[in-house]
Structure formats: C-alpha cells, structure tokens
Symmetry: C2
Subunit: 393 residues, 2 copies
C-alpha cells in the first residue's frame, strides 16, 4: 500500500520526510482542516468551575456562577433518572417521542413543531449550521450569550453586534443592524443573560412581527420559566421566521442532563432533523426531563424560591452600596461601579471560595453576575462579599 499523491505545497514538502519528526510541533498546515476551522482561535465560551477548582486547588464553597439551579430537579425527576440508569445500556429513543409529545401538548403545537436536543447549546449549533454559510453576517447583542457567538464563528459566520441599551437588549437597533447587513439570522434572549433584563410580550411580539419572511430570529427563552406567563408572547408555529428555544437546564434544574427544545414552523424543524445527532439525548436525561416537565408544581416552587433569593441578593448588594439590577432569571447582575472593580471582586470572591461570573463586554462588565443559590450559598456569598469590601475590594 502506497501513500496517495497530494497537490498541496505543504504536503509535498513533507511527503518524503518522517512525519514523526513533527511530533508535538506538527503544524496545522499538515492537517487538512477546512478554511473555517483553520481560522478559528482555540478558545471556549466558558471555563468550567471544575477547571477553576483544579487551578485553585480547592473546591468552591458556593457554586453560583453558571446559573445552575441550586434547588435541583423535581424529586420525581430524580427518581425517574435513578430508575432509568438501569437502562443506560440502551440508546435513548432518537425521536424523543414521549418528551416531544408532552412538550407539544403543553404548548398546544404539533409534534412536528418540536425538536429536542442536548440543550440549547446544541440547538444553537444546529440552527447556525442550518442557516449560516461561511461569511454570512449574523446579528446579536454585544455581550450576549457567548455560546451563540461560538457557534456562529464555528461555522464561519461573521458576527455583527449591537450594544445593549440601558442594560436591555435593543430590539429596534438589532433589527436595524440585521436590515443593514442583510443577516439571515438574528439572536435575542428574553429574558436576557447576562443582565437578567427582559422585554414584555407586546415588545417581543413586535420584534417577531418585524422579521421578514426569509430571515430567522432565534428567541432564546432559557429563562422563560422565571417570567410571568403574561409577559411571554403566544407561540405561533405558522410563522417560519422565529425559533423559540427552551431548556430543562434552569428552572427544571437539569443543566447536567443536557436537554433543550426548539419550537418552530415544521420546515425549520425538518431542517434540524436532517442534521441533528439522532441519539444525542441520553436515556437517563430523557426520563428526567419528562418527569420534570410533568411536575410544574415543583417548578413553581423553584420560581418562588428564586424570587425570594433575588430579593435577598439585592439586600446583600445594597448593604455595600451596590445596585442589583431587576432580573427575570435565576441570577442577578450587580453593578459594582466599574469593570476594574468587577474583575477584582470576581477574583477576590473566587479566592474566598465563591464561584461567580462577569459579563464579557463593556458596559455590562461593570457588573458581577451572581446565580441565586440556596440560603447557605447566599450566606457564604454575603460573608465573602463583606470581607472583600472590608479589605478594600
């Protein structure tokens, strides 16, 4: 068996050399990467708390940085998952049938309007892959969800960003930008992450109505469960210009189980089904998500606990003269007066065992972002914050 010949200059150069010489220094020129992947930086949207713990050599006392639910999933979901472990050797149902059936019934849509995947992260990747050709201009807010940006860059899209307006995503400016660059895809999160702000139903409906046929709005509603239902515009699956996204990661407390869903016009769902990894939701996660979905009472309790927690965090912040921004999520952005202060505070809190995060762009990054933890988490946060402030933080 002989190597087959290659045309590329780089390949010709090394063809007759022992490739082992390149060892760990192998240049990416010798790997046949696509143009898109070759151009990507080796970055990730987030560093996980486990990586920080490994760096710090200590486990966090309060894990309130990734907007995970401190209240866990419904006991029914826990029980369903423990039971489902016995079937872990079986692939999950690639059609996610039972879960899609429950979701469709709940939202009053057809099963062909629902795509279940391994979290909104996976769905964002699929939608971008489906709609974004290399070089296509894509619009989002400056400082919004980094994983959307990661997916857009990952498929070669060109990001165009619009500043927040008073810590709110700015629908009119986003639409203007999309119009100017002729973006096929526009991303809006409502409620917003990382600021916690939100627009009401009329405003969001107006945004949806302003998207012309042939363009698509991703409406990321990961935090919709924390919003008063009257603030959420009705779902209209006859409209091919919007994809609504929901997740089990937040109010349902199943971030580690990786289950989210998209609701959209069947033509969009068909597109997603053409390219998704059919078996990607684990069997245990399918069982957990279905049980969680069927326990809205528990979600209601979580939402109430989160509301109380947000009030608590606002008090803790104001004690030191900081302002907690209004939030319709399970976290609070606290304005600490400037980016340098926020950076220093995040580091100092980390040193005291408190894992939080910070928005990634100015002027949002004058804030720290604190997830509503348990009462104990908040006590740890309050003590650490007081200590940081007392020591000049």
């Amino acid at each position: 068996m002989e190597p087959w010949p290659c045309d590329a200059i780089g390949v010709l150069l090394v063809r007759y050399m022992d490739r082992r010489e390149f060892g760990g220094d192998m240049d990416e020129r010798f790997i046949p990467l696509t143009e898109t992947v070759r151009a990507l930086p080796a970055t990730t949207p987030f560093v996980g708390p486990e990586a920080l713990e490994r760096t710090n050599g200590a486990v966090f006392k309060a894990r309130i940085g990734a907007n995970e639910s401190a209240f866990g999933p419904s006991p029914k979901a826990l029980a369903a998952m423990r039971d489902a472990v016995a079937e872990a050797s079986w692939y999950g149902d690639p059609e996610n049938f039972e879960l899609r059936q429950a979701i469709a019934a709940h939202h009053g849509v057809g099963m062909d309007n629902v795509c279940v995947a391994a979290g909104i992260d996976s769905l964002l990747g699929l939608v971008v892959r489906m709609l974004v050709s290399p070089g296509a201009p894509i619009v989002t807010s400056l400082g919004a969800y980094p994983t959307f940006n990661y997916q857009v860059s990952g498929f070669g899209g060109a990001l165009h960003t619009v500043p927040y307006r008073n810590d709110f995503e700015d629908p009119e400016a986003l639409l203007d930008k999309a119009k100017a660059v002729e973006a096929p895809l526009l991303y809006v999160a409502n409620p917003d992450n990382p600021m916690g702000s939100w627009h009401g139903a009329a405003s969001v409906q107006s945004l949806i109505d302003s998207v012309p046929t042939g363009k698509v709005l991703i409406l990321d509603e990961a935090y919709a469960d924390f919003l008063d239902p009257v603030e959420i515009p009705a779902i209209d699956v006859s409209n091919p210009c919007v994809i609504r996204m929901r997740t089990f990661s937040k109010a349902h407390g199943l971030a580690g189980a990786r289950v989210g869903y998209a609701i959209a016009h069947p033509a969009l769902i068909t597109g997603l089904n053409k390219i998704r990894n059919q078996f990607e939701v684990t069997r245990v996660s399918q069982a957990g998500a279905l049980a969680a979905f069927q326990d809205p009472q528990y979600v209601g309790q979580v939402v109430a606990e989160v509301a109380a927690g947000k009030a608590d965090i606002a008090k803790i912040a104001s004690k030191h003269g900081f302002t907690a921004l209004p939030s319709a999520t399970n976290f609070v952005a606290i304005d600490v007066g400037g980016h340098e202060q926020a950076t220093r505070m995040m580091a100092e809190l980390g040193r005291r065992g408190v894992f939080i995060r910070m928005p990634g762009a100015a002027p949002l990054n004058r804030c720290i972002r604190v997830t509503v933890g348990t009462e104990k988490d908040r006590a740890v946060f309050a003590d650490a914050l007081a200590d940081v402030v007392a020591s000049g933080g």
Copy 2:
C-alpha cells in the same frame, strides 16, 4: 419596527403576503437554509426500536438489533450514575478532565491526545466538520456505518464507496480509491460493523502507514474491546494521519449515556476542541463512564459472555442451515442466502417480537445482523427463528 428588505426573488414575492397563508405548506424556499442543508434528504441513519414498537403497538421481547450490551454496565458504573443523579442540576465538567486523565493514562498518551464527546456519532460529526468542505470526496466502504455517511452528507461531502471483499472491508481498495479521488478523509471500522469481520494488527498498521501526511484516516474501533489485544496496533499519537475512536456504548454497556473518545495527534484534538459543544457529555454519563473505565474486570466478563453468546447464535443459525459469520464484535451477521430472504426474515422476526437489523447494501444484505443478547434473548430469537423457518420464512 419595519421588516428589513430582501433581495431574493422568493422573499420579494411573499413580502407583502400574509406569511400565515403558507402554514404547513411553507416551502423550504422561504427558509434561508444553506445550500448543503437544502440539498439533504429528510432521512435518518436509523429508525429506533421505540419507533418500531409504536408502529407495531407492541414492545419487543428481544431487543437485539442495535448492538447494545445485554449485560449492562458495570455495577460500579450503575452505582456511580445513581449517585451522580443528585448533581444533575450542575453542568458536567466541559473539559471531561477526570475521564480524559484516566483514558490518557490507560493508553499511555497525553491528555492533549484525547477528546471526549457524546459518543462516536458526535465525534464523527466533529471530524467531518473539521476536515470536510462541501464537495470534498470522502471514502468509506459500501454498506459500512450509516452514521458516518450521514455526517459526511450533512456537511456536504461527496461519498465514494468501495465494496467489501468477502465480507471484509478492503484496505487496499479503500486506499486506492482515496488516492484516486484525493480524499482528505477515509473511514475504516475495525472490527467492522455490520459484518463483524476484522483485520489483524499488521494489516491495520500497514493501512495506517499508507495514509500520507495531509490526509486523515478515521479508525473506528467501537468494538475493539471484543478483539484480542494483540490484534490491535499500537497507538502512535505522533502520527497526524489517524484518529482512533473508542466508545463506552458497546463492551462498557453505556450506549444510552453517550460517551466516546478520540485519540489523536494534539493538532487534531485541538481542532476538535475548537468546535465541540463543550458541555455535551452529561454529568451522570461522565460519572458512569469513569467508573466503567475503572472496572476492566467487568468488561472482561462481558467479553467472555459475548463470546459464549456468539457461539450460541452460530449454533442456532446452523440448525436451520444458515451460516453465522465470524465476528470480533458483540453481534453476528447471519447469511440467510439472499436479500429477499433477509428482508422477509427481519420483518417476520419483528412480528414475533424480535428486533434485529440488516446491513444496508448488497451483497452484505443477504445477512441479518443479530446482537448477542442475554441467554433469554437468544432463546426468544431461537424460537422465533424456528417459527419463521417453519412457516416458510
């Protein structure tokens, strides 16, 4: 807020119409799909057994069609997963650190040589995305793993197939084809699915050595655990021309948990890390895979049980004059004499509560493919097969 203007003809035509008129008949022309996705058929690589059960209105008595492990995961993995359910509200470690550490130590490679993802299906998608530009010629065997083809088509690659040779993948012919079309990527599974055949270490090493710098071989070793270790060529991560893939879905009994890994040169792993969904392995699955990996004794038991089961299936087949092909996997391809017979037999077995599958291309599809189940599964299969044969099947 006003819709932004569009240039595309289709869009102009519908701009002033009520888009709701299109309803369920919305033509894909009005969705801004990429060329690649627009061209894709709405097919999936596999129909799951659950879908067949829904169609049949009955649950299978023997689920021996998807090469899942009938012996389940290690009891230690089950326990670890049940424990980890309590942490399902936390995202998994996006770096899969502990699991990668264990994998790297076991294979004697660096952690930067290992990428963990949600099964080989996910890894195949990532590698194809990383290396395959639309139109690129990609080589595989005719009738080999359909999910590889799904991923290649899904990213716009052009599949070139090479026939099996006496039910074995044909390395020389595959290399010749790759040479002829100048394929950046070549796929070989060893042991093979769906035939169960395998090439020994020297032959596979020769294949690896024949891949020139600048091209990449995916060596899918999902079933490597069932192979005598001396039949597996040594892993050499200084070679940037090969990506070895392993899974927890087969011998480790964790198909439903979605965990697999790639071992390769750091430049290839870096490429995968640039584009993978960082959080895609669930927290429960991480715990299960780590515990399973640390229980090689259990895997040894499974492999022994599977060997006994394969001998059993060969006997069942020969009783009816059918030939069970030699297999280094957890399934057996049984030659039933022709494609029509195989098709009819699969349907008739299905009617009798036995889920099996069939290779997808001639001449392999003269066989049915039967996963080694439990003793009880095999008894159900034996009875159903006898009944099918007796009734003229």
